[in-house]
Symmetry: D2
Subunit: 331 residues, 4 copies
């Protein structure tokens, strides 16, 4: 039984707390958040301890591994704290606010040496059953040579403006998931071209895009196209198509039921998409935790790792640059 310390007690921390509680190989030992009330709230739901002294979680003798759900600016510090404490960590995306911070992290990790405990990045979509099935079928050669990947990724509604203000921008905050999905299929990205959109007038004063079209290609010329929007009337729109020489594979949205309605004006109408990431990616979060636990148990480096986080972040920075300048950015 792997005893897990949870760093942070926000929205995503609750998702992980639940996965930890339901996984037969893990137990939630302690939740650390500077807001003790939040930590207690999450902890008590699963019979765990709570503390406002976040650093104490890393030192806790009853903790075997940590799941880092703190604000992004603290990720590097918390990853390093886990490594120093000799505890494997599963860290939410993105790995840091910018690539400079990642370089510093890399330098510090190098000092820790090869024996340092593993860090896994929380790119949960790699563990979505449908996306993974498409990926594995592509890897198995089912559609021949992969040529074009099309990703549609739209949130149901924009987060509060206060969140957007400190999010690092749409590419690092939202598209980062899709960049990782693109890398999941294409490997390293060679070129990035992006169009940013200001769709919702209500968000104009955030200075951030709330829509984006990004075209990526790897060195072999395989493309990935990402379409993002901060809003979608029908729910959390998460789809993917992989096209190759022998055919194509798609992963569709998920709905709460299989019900279809037929009336005088429409037929085969289904439910809106599952909304939001907690519901849509519930299985993905659980399987992500399972992969983390299995890697630790088997002494393997978990995947995706910090370099995957670093690569997705570089693509995000390149996309932001391309959206600003209009030029393709080569990595």
């Amino acid at each position: 039984m792997l005893r897990i310390g949870l760093i942070g007690a926000g929205r995503i921390a609750r998702v992980h707390a639940r996965s930890i509680a339901q996984n037969p190989s893990t137990t939630l030992a302690v939740v650390g958040d500077v807001v003790l009330e939040a930590a207690s709230d999450v902890a008590s739901a699963h019979g765990a301890r709570a503390t406002a002294d976040v650093d104490s979680v890393f030192a806790d003798a009853e903790v075997d591994a940590v799941v880092i759900c703190s604000p992004t600016p603290l990720h590097v510090d918390h990853i390093l704290a886990a490594v120093r404490a000799g505890k494997p960590a599963l860290c939410e995306k993105p790995v840091a606010m910018d690539s400079a911070a990642v370089d510093e992290l890399r330098r510090r990790l190098a000092e820790a040496g090869d024996s340092a405990p593993a860090v896994m990045m929380g790119f949960n979509r790699r563990f979505d059953p449908s996306f993974q099935a498409v990926h594995d079928a592509v890897e198995a050669g089912e559609i021949g040579t992969l040529e074009q990947v099309t990703i549609i990724s739209r949130d149901p509604a924009a987060p509060p403006k206060e969140y957007i203000a400190v999010s690092g921008g749409i590419f690092k905050d939202m598209t980062i998931h899709d960049f990782d999905t693109a890398r999941y299929f294409l490997g390293d990205i060679a070129t990035v071209s992006a169009l940013g959109q200001h769709l919702d007038p209500e968000l104009a004063d955030t200075g951030d895009f709330d829509g984006a079209i990004v075209t990526l290609a790897n060195a072999a010329g395989v493309s990935a196209t990402i379409t993002n929007s901060r809003h979608c009337a029908s729910g959390y729109d998460q789809r993917l198509e992989a096209f190759g020489t022998l055919g194509s594979l798609t992963a569709d949205n998920v709905r709460p039921t299989t019900v279809r309605r037929n009336t005088a004006t429409l037929t085969e109408a289904q439910d809106p998409y599952l909304d939001f990431f907690l519901e849509r990616y519930e299985a993905a979060y659980a399987r992500e935790l399972g992969a983390f636990v299995a890697a630790i148990a088997q002494g393997r480096r978990p995947s995706p790792g910090i370099e995957d986080g670093a690569a997705a972040l570089r693509v995000a920075e390149a996309a932001a640059e391309s959206a600003r300048t209009g030029a393709v950015v080569r990595l």
Copy 2:
């Protein structure tokens, strides 16, 4: 070029007139209907002659074959007239109002001898591209041994009460098509069990059922289930499923476009079904005529023939009896 005489100028005659005009191997020569205005109306649309002297069509030296779209009580006389005139005939369903009339027809045809011209029954659904594809895949063994056929067949709206009054009842008028479809898959029917429904209170005084559930089986125990209704809010509901040991095949409804709508309350909503038989079975009527023409050209007996019409009629009579008595009728 096969010169065709059209017997009758009603709704279904117009469908055939159009098929004849569009088929590169046929031309519409003359339209005969006791209501000259109706005959002229259909004829003029395709540059054909019109006559109120229906018998003259059979004798017409410029006519190579006839398509019989007269009222059902006249079918037997018109089939015999065609046979006497030595002209192949395509006759709309049902072959007659009752099996006694078919026996009389058979006796008279026997007198005409084996060299008499062929008669084809207008069971158009055998020529629907989707139903035929399912049928041919079943015949090819794609789903192993056929075990259960499920037919959903609902009209968009009931015909006028005057029509119902002389229709011979739902089983001979509407279900007859589904009985032929069942025979298309099962061959000869051994047992018939039917439930009649009075669904629309407006039709209660017609004395006819406006809904029906019929269960058929052939001697080998393969079943066919038919669900009928005289109304369907979403249009002309025409579906079929063939289930066998190795899998199943379905034919879905047809819609005017492939458009799907997604809103805040529903997703993937499609158009209502094509409504009505003219639109839904346009390709089927054209291919039925093609099969008739090809059989004549090649000197083959066209299929389905009079015995198929007779068999479907016997099933219809059995269904009516079962709906009345509650007992299975064995044929």
Copy 3:
């Protein structure tokens, strides 16, 4: 926290054990099965006690309610034992092997009086999210007046012949679920007509049907058609259509992913259906337990109750009679 005693440790008991363990309001206290090893196996997976003395479970002071998963011939005894012990029971279907046994049960329950604890029947499909959504939409009048219900229900593969030999026949063993689903939509059934099929030659010597077509109607003439098969190549085929004056609602099969495949020979190909009831109805079992717990907590009689079990059993007996005689059976 409701402490539950589980009666039986077979396949379906394991499903309930898992639901109990995952429900935040319930805990698995003890598992009773005459085969101690089986009881221990189920119990240990969830930290519960095991006993071969099944009767002791009812008397257990640490048990607040029981879930009865014993063989059908023991259901009546176990229901009565629970009632005598003053403990609410959730009992798997069917309530008994025949209606005579149900009559005896009723007589004995009447002696226990109105204050006897409630018994709920485990017709899990009423709690399937999709079936329930269709049901609730029908109740809400979304499709106007309900007219025809079509149920397709096929198991992926036949159970062992030894199971079939003691199962009571396909209607009581398998169709009983569909009879309850029909009653869920139609209420009391007035007429039953059934066709039994011998599809798989391997099962011929069981003497039981392995396919069935059943047509039910309530007093108002609303129909329900059930198509059963003991095998289905594509998995556990569980579908439902409710048709009414204003439209129709369908519940489709469930698949493990949303992936669709496109190749040179086919497009939009999806995964086989979830196979088998554990996977397909996982949510239904969990929600069924939730309904049981909620009814107890609120002092309500849980639904469906014993009379629902009795009614479904009567329909099953009528179907068996109709399949034998060919006549409609009126209830």
Copy 4:
């Protein structure tokens, strides 16, 4: 009855010949092609005259309007010949090989004055029932403010290398249709960004791309993303999604039947897509001709016109430039 002269007798000319023959308001008078055998072949199928003297078609007193299906380098000359002859013309895309040629065409047309007969561009996809239904629903405000259009457009197989060599490149030859579709939804395009792909090694020596990702935006920031490939295993892949503030609309591929297959390994598998443009866009070509005829009959300028052809060509040139330089091109 509009008597039409057909300029050219190649693949696309045959499509138009058939539409003309089937349209009740048009008749095919004459087919002109320098290869007399080709002209005769097309003409004889529809009872028309044939000539190798293409210029004579414009002068023909029995010709009321022309449909221009000559090679692209001749389009400008043939448009001008029609205008000089006072005959309305429907001209296949693209209007010319480059924008310089269009400028010259414009100059010459200006000399002809406002009373010159109308020229319509053959962007057939605007007349596809599904694309048009999406377009009209967008215009009607059904999805609120349009924000993102996604176009997938893949040919089933690449044309011969000889064709590619003189095609003007993928953007002018293939994507030009999608550029017009984008303009159909977005109006004038403000920015163009393109990625060209060399997918099929067999085509490497053509020097042309055989895959492309193009991102367009209009002045209001509405985006259109186009994904092209010269090959697609499943057939002619033609899809479209329009996304707006209140929902989205999609148009799916078309298949020859509605059949779905279910086996032990897959379910709901449909037929490959209709292949190729003749089959897929048969209705679109017929409706395009209908729009041309209606505009002439009503004295309206047909749409899309030469300026639409010119605009699509400018976007194609910009896409080629962007694919070469990596920079966004502003129009």
